[in-house]
Structures are given as C-alpha cells and as structure tokens.
Amino acid sequence: MLFGVALGAAAVLLLWWRGTPYVRGTGDWLTDGGRITGLLAGYTIGIVLLLMARIPAFERGVGSDRLARWHAIGGRYTVSLVVCHVLLIVWGYAVTAHTNPVHQTVSLVSSYPDMAMATAAAGLLVFVGIVSARAARRKLRYETWYYLHLYTYLAVALSFSHQLATGAQFISDPPARAAWSSFYVIIGGLLIWHRLLTPVRSALRHRMRVVALETEAPGVVSVYISGEHLNELDAQPGQFFRWRFLTRNHWWAANPYSLSAAPQPRVLRITVKALGDHSGDLAGVRVGTKVLAEGPYGGFTAARRKRRKVLLIAAGVGITPIRTLFETLPGAPGDITLLYRVSSPGSVLFHSELEAIARDRGHRFYLLSGPRGSGDPLSAGRLAKAIPDLRQHDVYLCGPPAMTDATIRSLRRCGVSPRRIHRESFEL
C-alpha cells in the first residue's frame, strides 16, 4: 500500500517534470517549488481522504485504528504542503513580477480564476489542521471536532477548480487534466459508495433496533441490538461497528464501539462508557430506538494470530473487544491468558462473565486492580514473572493510548516481536 502511494507521488512529480521546460532564476525556483508542493498537496489530500473511505479491504487488512493514525499523519503533512505551496507561489510570483508579496497576494486572489475559492479552501484546511492538533483536540468535544473536520470536504471542493484553471501543468495538457480529474472522481465515488450508499443499504436490509439496556457499572451501559439478517454482516469477534442511534439529538453522530459479546444471529451487544457527549447520552437511548450500523470494521481479530498461545491485555473499557476474543479464540486449557487492568474493583466490567468463560474453557484470568500511577502492574519485570514463556505468545492489547504505549514498551523489553503485538486503540 505504501508502495502504491509512493508510485502515485512519483507520477505526480513526473507530471511536473514533463510540463516544465526548465527552471531559471530565483523566481522560477520559488514558483516551481510552489507548484511541486501544490501538486503534492493535491495528491496527498486525495490519499488522506481515501484512507477514510471505509474501504472494507483496508479496514480489515490494515485496521481502522492504524488507518486513522496514517490519516492524521497524512493530514498534517498535507496542511504543511498547502502552507508551503501558498507561501512559495506568492513569493515566487512577487520576485518574478518585482512586486511586494502583499501586493502580489491581492492580485493573485483577485485576478486569477477561482483563486478566491482556493484561498478560502486553504484557510479552511489550515483551520481544520489547527483544531485537529493534539493540544486543541483535547479541549474540544469529539463531536465538535468531528463536524469541523467535515469542512475538509468543502475545502477539497473549493480548491479543485483552481488546480485545473491555474495549474501550469494542466492548462495545456488535456491528458493530465483527465488523469487528475479521474483521481478525484474515483476517490469521491469510493467515499459516496462506502460512506453513504452502503450504510443506507445496510439500514434498509437489517433494520436494527435497541432491544435491551443493562447497566454494567457506574456510567457503563451494555446495549443489545437486534435486527434482520445479522449473519450476513459476517462480523468477527474483536471487530467494531460505527453506530448511529436515531434519537433526535444524536442521529448525525456515528461512534465506534466494539462488540462486547460474540455476535449472535439475532442479537449484537456493545458496551459503552460515558466518554464523549454522545456516549454519555446513550443512557437516554430507549428500548425500540432505531440504530444504523456501519461495518464491521477492524482487523483486531483471530486472523492476526500466528501462535498457539495468546495473551490478552485489557484496561478499562478496552475490555469489550478483548472479552469477545477471550470468549471465542480457539485454544486448549492454559493457552489463553487474560490480564485485565482496572483502576478500582468497582469498575470491573463483565466480572462474572469473564470468570465463567475462564472456568468453562480453562483459560487463565488475572484481575490487576489499583489506581493509575500506583506502580505499573504491566511492567516488563512483572509481565515476565507472570508469564515465563511470554515470547511464545501473540499479544492482543486494548486500552487507553498511554497504557497501550507503555505496555508495548514493556513487551518489547521482554523480547516479544512487534509483529506479534496487536493493538486496537480508540483514538478515532
């Protein structure tokens, strides 16, 4: 996949190479630098959108959480390219025309076709980049951030016409124009198909509803959802759906929740902790509420397992997909071990269910309780002591990012290969 992306970038650079006879003088250097960064930005923004197109092969093969991380990396890169593109073009034009950059900016925006739209697009992109930066992101509600993020589509639409109307590589090169347009059309088509049409079709086919609600712990609720033809979803233990509860206030937000029990032909179960505003409101969801589900997504499944022995590590509400794997992963007694980290005994989820599974299947189940920062029970030393043959295990890991990062470092110190560590994170 990375290779494909690099190949595309090379094609974009070739486009520039072919359309530029030579570069001469400071003005040309700056302007052509601006053209290259502009072309690359136009390309990477397409790739960044593609990563979010919910293409099933990517979602299962790469994993949604990794796609989201790549999306974030690509997004930062794209915004940087756009900023460079704007600065270099203005500067380069100003040098060539012997004007000052301010005057040049005014004339660029006012007298070139579609440049006003493109300026708005660049502003939007930078704005989205700023609100997505880690510091700002922490202060924003998930929903606010999510909807601000949708402005990216507007930015892409606004910027598209200036690419063809003023792009030196496209004005007199119809094949290049056609190729560039089809790149965008294909990505747009994939987005519409997988993010709009597929969910609508699935809603009509499955007609899901909430059939029961059950409080598991303070602030944590299990939601039972029933529907038609659920077996056609082919959901694997460890996967998640993006759920949209059709209440008046929250029909527009789709949030990812893992299945917290192995999927049944008639019933799916998710378990939700009050994290964002949307999940907090879930307690107000009633029996009978209609539900739309997109998915299943995620590669955190038995398909990643290569070893006979498996170590499952969960923290907090990260137990949901881990519990499903604990219930369903094939294994002889003693093959499968679960370490469940909680901050207090009162916040343990599925305690009796986990004990019952461990008893019935002969799995090992350890509860690690203690407040955060009270000495890491998942340190390398303690892990090695608890599980002497740690290196013979596949490790599945789900929990808050700080915990999974620290635990992965511990596992690496114990000599576990990074390819045998599988992580699901909820940084979506």
């Binding site: 030579y22 570069v23 001469r24 960064t37 890169y77 109307a165 007199s172």
Partner: protein, 197 residues
Amino acid sequence: MKRPVLATLGTITCVVLLLGFKSAPTRAARPAFVSPLSSSEPPAVDSAATSPNIASSAPPDSAAASTPSADPATQAAAQTPTPSTSRAPTPTKTPSRSAAPPPKAVPATFLGASVQTRYGPVQIKITYAGGRVTGVVAVQLPSGRSRDAEINSYAVPILESETLAAQSANINAVSGATYTSDGYVRSLQSALDAIPH
C-alpha cells in the same frame, strides 16, 4: 519527533533535487530543440517566399519590435478584431542589433494563429532569417482588464527573449501570466510550424 523531521527533510531534498536537475541539464539539452530551426538551408527561405503562410516581409527589425516600447503598439493591434498583417506594428526601423542574421538571408515573417485564452486572444509574429528566428512580436494580447497591461509589460519581454534564446516554442510559462504564456507558446508553435522546410 523523528518522523516529522524526516518527512520535512525528505520533501525539501526531493523538491530541491527536482528543481536543481531541471535547471541544470536543460540548457545543455536546448540545442536539440534548436535543430529543426537552425538547419540553415537556403531553400527554406526561398520556398517560404511562395508559401501562402507568409504574412509579410519586413526588414530584420527584431530588436526594435521586441523592446517594451513596442507594447502599446501591440496592444493597439490587439484591439482590432482581425489584425491585418500589413498593419503589423513598427514596420520599419533601422536594425539596432549587431547580432544580425547572416548576410544574404532574406527575412520572412510568419504570423501565428490567434489563440483564444481566458482573457483574450494572443497572436504572435516571428521574423525568420538565415535559419533562425530573429525577431518575435506579439500582435494581439489580452487587454480587457486593467491588470492585463501590467502583466503584458513584464511577461511579454521575458517570453520574447526566451523565444529568441530557445529558438523553439519550448519555453517556460512566465509566473503570473500563465494563460498569456500558454497562448503565446501555442501561437508561436503555429508560426514555427508554418516555416517551410
């Protein structure tokens, strides 16, 4: 922290290398583009005299025509709907350049097609003598907007000198005058195509 630094450095290196390669070898490569024009066969000029493509004959006044002072004249020409070639700007001027074409070469002018751009038509005329393009002048340029004169005044001299240096239509678009440059190059190409070989 490592990844952003690597990405930044990688991108900058890549862009600088591309620009560097583009600026260095193309000058060496330029004679290859010149060859179709610089084949200084005398019959080329002779047969040109009978060609219907010929617009007019004029003394080799390329230098005068391509000075910025000629621009108002070309602007004026641009406003006439179909500029007749006899009304070409600055028809007679004494040759002011010592880099004159080889002796005995009969100069001929070729009018390029009038190319419609987003902001108006662009049409150029070349003077050809001794197997070389010795002069080039824009007879039509966009003039509808107040900014056009400004663009033309800096872009056209660059395009003219680039044409004379490249001896082909393989010239760079001028920053800030992308459309005019594109029309210029296409009109220039059609004029060059009109030269009989």
